[in-house]
Amino acid sequence: MDIILAQSLLEPNAGLIFYKVVVFALLLFILRRFAWKPIVSALSEREETIDTSIKKAERALEEARKTGEKNEEARRAAEESARRVMQEARAAAEQVRSEELEKTRARIRQMQEQAQAEIEREKQRALDELRDEVAGLAIQTAEHILEETLDADRQRKMVDRFIEQLPRN
């Protein structure tokens, strides 16, 4: 009996093989049709979905990055122009200020000069008047002193000469 049993471990059983072929073929057919096909197709569908989602997300991220860069650039440009405008304004203001100052200074100088000239003129006029006055007084005085020894023209010439000899101031 032992020999039979030991053989039975290695002996292929035709009946069992027959059944097994049927069972496995059926199993293969049913699983392929109703299980593997829907599952595997669903898996690849999901993989595709995930793939496209990731790609989409990457694209969106890239776009966002680009937009951010653009914004940054725009901001930088705006800042730059603002600074330039301010600088220009400051320079203009400075120029205007210095011009104004120069103008004012010039006007003051002009006014000073005018005033000086006026004073000079007035002084000259006063001196002339004074000289006339002094000449008149001297003539009167001399007339009084010298009585009518000299005619009026000679007297005037003498006084003029005298006055000429006076120091200017």
Binding site: M1, D2, I4, L5, A6, S8, L9, L10, E11, P12, N13, A14, G15, L16, I17, F18, Y19, K20, V21, V23, F24, A25, L26, L27, L28, I30, L31, R32, F34, A35, W36, K37, P38, I39, V40, S41, A42, L43, E45, R46, T49
Partner: protein, 379 residues
């Protein structure tokens, strides 16, 4: 993180459950075998296929017998071996002292009483047996494994009916666990081994992997046995693998096998049969590897348990009592190994099948062929 923890906990529960089952089975089967006459424990009978289900100590269930006979042709169906013998249309012989003797009457009843009739091939009284189509233990458990496979994956397939479910993340341990298996077979076995044309082989690889896996795991269930520990089953699987793969063999593949390019004519004639034998041997090894591994696990466990009884007979019950825990511990250890082996050999069978498919459908490029020819011509 939580999900991972939950998964690990589930795995631990399953492992513990399986280990518990194995342990419980051993505890139960021990007194049963001890109760057998003379403490006889036949590991081979237990591992081999049989026409009965052994539910020791609760009894034995005989499976239906179906015989195809000729002269006259006919199919006989009996609900059990016992009824086949008692109908007196089939008989068994008892071999003793070199001569066989057909059992009748009292002797037959005595043989049935001792379950001896289950180990002997019945012969038809009229005509000769053509094919024994009896339902066997391994067929029952193979069918059970097939039904489990169907139940699991048809249920899983329902999860992908709606479009939202097809594209959303897998939910729950059931979907995650079995989807993981499917993705593993597709991405780690089929795609790298077969190459771009892998898709057509995925259904076969998945079916083979899951069916073998559940068959193997069935070997760990008490009272059940692994259908894959039967050479007929693994041979069938290997033949399927052979047919599925070679059917798709490219022209270049067959040419390289039977008319190797760039080789002198005598060598060609020599190579062709060698290639043919190697092709068949590869697939035969596929069957033998799975069968031997699954069978050896079962034999090993039974032998370890058997040691206890052998020692009981040889050295007495005291030593046997001390040896028993050791035997049980080893058995537990082997049971754990068997869990790993169940997965490993399902994987190995699938992987090797995929590699053979890959060889069959590989495109041989022209420049490659020339590169092979060049050194030969130069030489």
């Amino acid at each position: 993180m939580m999900a991972l923890h939950a998964n690990i906990r589930y795995c631990r529960v399953i492992l513990l459950f399986l280990a518990g089952c194995a342990f419980f089975a051993l505890l139960i089967s021990r007194p049963a075998y001890a109760a057998d006459e003379g403490g006889e424990l036949d590991a081979v009978a237990h591992t081999a296929d049989g026409v009965y289900l052994d539910f020791a100590p609760f009894g034995t269930v005989e499976l239906p017998r179906i015989f195809l006979r000729k002269d006259p042709w006919g199919v006989d169906v009996f609900s059990s071996t016992r009824s086949a013998l008692l109908s007196e249309r089939y008989e068994i012989e008892h071999e003793e002292d070199g001569h066989a003797e057909v059992l009748h009457g009292e002797a037959l009843h005595a043989a049935i009483e001792h379950h001896e009739h289950l180990y002997v091939k019945p012969k038809p009284v009229l005509g000769t047996m053509v094919l024994d189509l009896s339902i066997t233990r391994h067929l029952v458990f193979g069918l059970l494994a097939a039904l489990i496979t169907l139940a699991i994956f048809l249920t899983l397939a329902r999860r992908y009916r709606r479009h939202e479910d097809r594209v959303s993340a897998p939910r729950g341990i059931f979907q995650n666990m079995f989807e993981g298996l499917i993705v593993y077979v597709r991405d780690e076995i089929a795609r790298p081994c077969i190459g771009p044309k892998y898709e057509q082989f995925v259904p076969f690889l998945l079916t083979a992997f899951t069916f073998i896996l559940f068959c193997n795991l069935m070997g760990l269930v008490p009272y059940a046995s692994a259908a894959t520990s039967n050479i007929s089953v693994t041979l069938t699987l290997a033949v399927f693998s052979f047919v599925v793969g070679q059917r798709r063999g490219t022209r270049a593949y067959w040419r390289h096998m039977f008319w190797a390019p760039g080789v002198p004519l005598p060598v060609k004639c020599l190579l062709a049969p060698i290639e043919l034998v190697s092709l068949i041997a590869k697939h035969f090894a596929l069957a033998l590897r799975l069968f031997a591994n699954m069978m050896s696990g079962s034999l090993l466990i039974l032998s370890l348990i058997g040691i206890i009884f052998t020692i009981n007979v040889l050295f007495g019950s005291l030593i046997a009592t001390f040896v028993a825990p050791l035997g049980i511990a080893f058995t537990l250890f082997i049971s754990f190994i068997k869990i790993a082996v169940a997965f490993i050999h399902a994987f190995v069978f699938t992987l090797l099948s995929a590699i053979f498919f890959g060889m069959a459908v590989e495109e041989h490029h022209e420049d490659e062929a020339h590169a092979e020819e060049q050194p030969v011509l130069a030489g």
